[in-house]
């Protein structure tokens, strides 16, 4: 069992990721994720202070496109895929939280 990853951590990440877990699931996932995190302890323990990160395998920079209008998507086709539409807009239930 991981010293680092707790049931509370899993509950917190589930909330952040908008996933609902039952108590049983919470236990199972905590065990499984802890095993993976434990395996990653070798990485976490490395002293890599002088090593720069590699976020991306390619050394590309400045990939830009011209500011020119391109045909977009057909609105009806896009809206036809939506679970709920009203007045040509995507309909969602009440929004309670604030936008950051």
């Amino acid at each position: 069992m991981s010293a680092q990853l707790t049931r509370d951590d899993v509950a917190k990440v589930a909330l952040l990721a908008r996933l609902e877990l039952t108590d049983d699931e919470l236990d199972t996932y905590t065990g499984q994720l802890a095993a993976v995190i434990d395996h990653a302890a070798d990485v976490a323990a490395l002293d890599l202070a002088d090593i720069p990160p590699t976020a991306h395998p390619l050394p590309l920079v400045n990939v830009l496109r011209d500011d020119v209008i391109r045909p977009g998507a057909d609105r009806d086709e896009v809206l036809s895929q939506a679970p709920s539409v009203e007045d040509r807009r995507f309909r969602v239930p009440a929004i309670l939280g604030e936008e950051p």
Binding site: K12, L15, L16, R18, A55, H56, L58, L60, V61, N62, V63, L64, R65, D66, D67, V68, I69, R70, P71, G72, A73, R75, V78, L79, E86, D87, R88, R89, F90, R91, V92, P93, A94, I95, L96, G97, E98, E99, P100
Partner: protein, 499 residues
């Protein structure tokens, strides 16, 4: 408890709140965060039109709808405009990367916002206000806008709405977020900052900067501290500021609210508050449903941005003369200070070119600025021959025209295009000669002996008032043709003469 607070400017630049109960003097500290939409043809990462006011969900494609499999490609013009703005704000352009800011919100198609986080494109600049204050700019970074939620049912507002409708036309529109340092000390200064920033945005072509249409959005971080306290107070972020008027009122209200609490010994909670224009107050935002943790990480679908030195140099070379610089140039030419209202207004109204030309043609600076500030509408001013304006000022200084007459002549110059001398002759504006004026004044003194003797004996304050009485009479009799300065000079000489 409501404290009775008074505003009292100290040192002419700080705006303070004095508590009548404790006598403590509080200083307001404001930092502004401005989001402005860039004036590009297309969105930040796709070829959809960047257009305001179209039918909902018409300017969309797989990319700006965040459809599975779609990928962003950065718009060249966004980088160009962002750098123009950055350089106009004296920022240094740095190698930058995009990051994802992860949070769920239905107007955000990917449920993350692509923004610049730890490596923004523009860093560490400043902006000079017309009052001479230099406000630091921490950063000006590129990010994408969200869609638009319309709240339906219930009250029609987010609170209590039954449901919402989402339009993604605005999703992916390019924004620059300009983060100002907390160097603002006054609600008026905050408004001035926005005005100045707007002028820069317009001058650089970066944005149309319309606060009413939402292409310029302002959040204010407001805190207070006792004057002399080196520490910054806990701040609140005020949102929903839709006009300059709201901005000023909201800062004023919020500062007082914070002083109220602090004087009562209640700590300020760092929070987001919303300005309610109708009620004239700020209200706390609804608390988040979950703890904030944006889990920023570098956007793997985009590559780093490293504008070449040549690109930056080309931007510098093409920058227009910016408002602060224009003020300096005009002030120097006119021989006045750059913070004088004539200078500030001439630049703000875009008439500094005319003023400079008139001064160049020999017009006296201060009088030229007076006309440009007070007597000239922007409409029509472009047709005015600067030489004529210089001549008009010349006639005034030579005593050929009174200030009032000059104003009338100027209006005629704008509509007819004729020279001031011709107009003055046509209108019959001929200078009264001084002996004529002296005779007129002596007659008026003789008519009002009581007033004259009070004027002679009055203290300074009262004298000024009574002087107005006599000047008014002279103007009436002369039908405005008398030169006010000459009149006061004669009155003064009569008053000082032995009785």
């Amino acid at each position: 408890m409501t404290l009775n607070l008074t505003h009292e400017p100290i040192e002419g630049e700080h705006f303070t709140i004095t508590s009548e109960s404790t006598g403590d003097v509080w200083e307001i500290v404001v930092g502004l965060e401005v989001h402005c939409e860039l004036a590009t043809v297309t969105k930040l990462f796709c070829g959809c039109p960047n257009m305001f006011g179209d039918e909902p969900n018409t300017n969309v494609c797989p990319v700006c709808l965040g459809l599975p499999g779609s990928l962003p490609v950065l718009n060249h013009q966004v980088v160009e405009l962002a750098m123009r703005l950055g350089r106009a704000l004296h920022c240094s352009v740095e190698p930058s990367v995009f990051a994802r800011k992860n949070y769920f919100y239905p107007d955000m198609p990917k449920d993350y916002q692509v923004s610049q986080f730890d490596r923004p494109i523009n860093v560490d600049g400043w902006l000079d206000l017309p009052d001479g204050t230099r406000v630091g700019i921490e950063r000006a970074h590129i990010e994408e806008d969200t869609g638009k939620n319309t709240h339906a049912g219930g009250s029609g507002r987010i609170h209590g709405a039954d449901y919402s409708l989402v339009d993604y036309n605005r999703a992916g529109v390019p924004l620059v977020e300009i983060v100002g340092r907390p160097h603002i000390r006054h609600p008026e200064q905050a408004k001035m900052y926005i005005d100045e920033l707007r002028a820069i945005l317009l001058a650089t072509g970066a944005s149309d900067a319309k606060m009413e249409e939402g292409s310029l959005r302002v959040d204010a971080n407001v805190s207070v501290r006792r004057v002399g306290d080196p520490e910054l107070g806990k701040r609140c972020e005020i949102k929903n500021l839709n006009s300059l008027r709201s901005l000023g009122r909201a800062i004023d209200y919020e500062a007082r609210r914070q002083v109220d609490l602090l004087e009562e010994g209640i700590a300020i909670r760092q929070e987001t508050r919303h300005w309610d224009e109708g009620a004239g107050r700020t209200r706390p935002g609804r608390s988040k449903e979950e703890a904030e943790d944006y889990r920023y990480f570098q956007e793997p679908d985009l590559v780093p941005l490293e504008p070449s030195a040549e690109w930056v140099a080309a931007i510098d070379a093409a920058l227009p003369v910016l408002p602060a610089q224009r003020r300096t140039i005009l002030a120097e030419a006119a021989g006045v200070g750059a913070t004088e209202s004539g200078v500030v207004m001439a630049v703000q109204r875009g008439l500094d070119g005319l003023a400079l030309a008139a001064i160049d043609q020999g017009g006296e600076g201060r009088r030229v600025l007076t006309h440009v500030e007070h007597n000239l509408a922007v409409d029509g001013a472009e047709t005015l021959d600067p030489k004529h304006l210089a001549d008009l000022v010349g006639l005034e200084l030579a005593g050929q025209l009174t200030a009032t007459q000059a104003k009338t002549v100027l209006a005629e110059m704008v509509s007819s295009g004729s020279s001031p001398a011709a107009i003055a002759t046509e209108l019959g504006f001929e200078a009264m000669d001084s002996s004529e004026l002296e005779a007129m004044i002596d007659a008026i003194i003789a008519e009002s002996p009581d007033e004259w003797s009070s004027f002679r004996d009055a203290d300074e304050k009262r004298q000024a008032k009574l002087q107005g009485f006599f000047v008014g009479k002279v103007m009436k009799v002369s039908k405005g043709q008398a030169d006010g300065k000459a009149v006061t000079a004669i009155l003064e000489s009569r008053r000082n003469a032995p009785a």
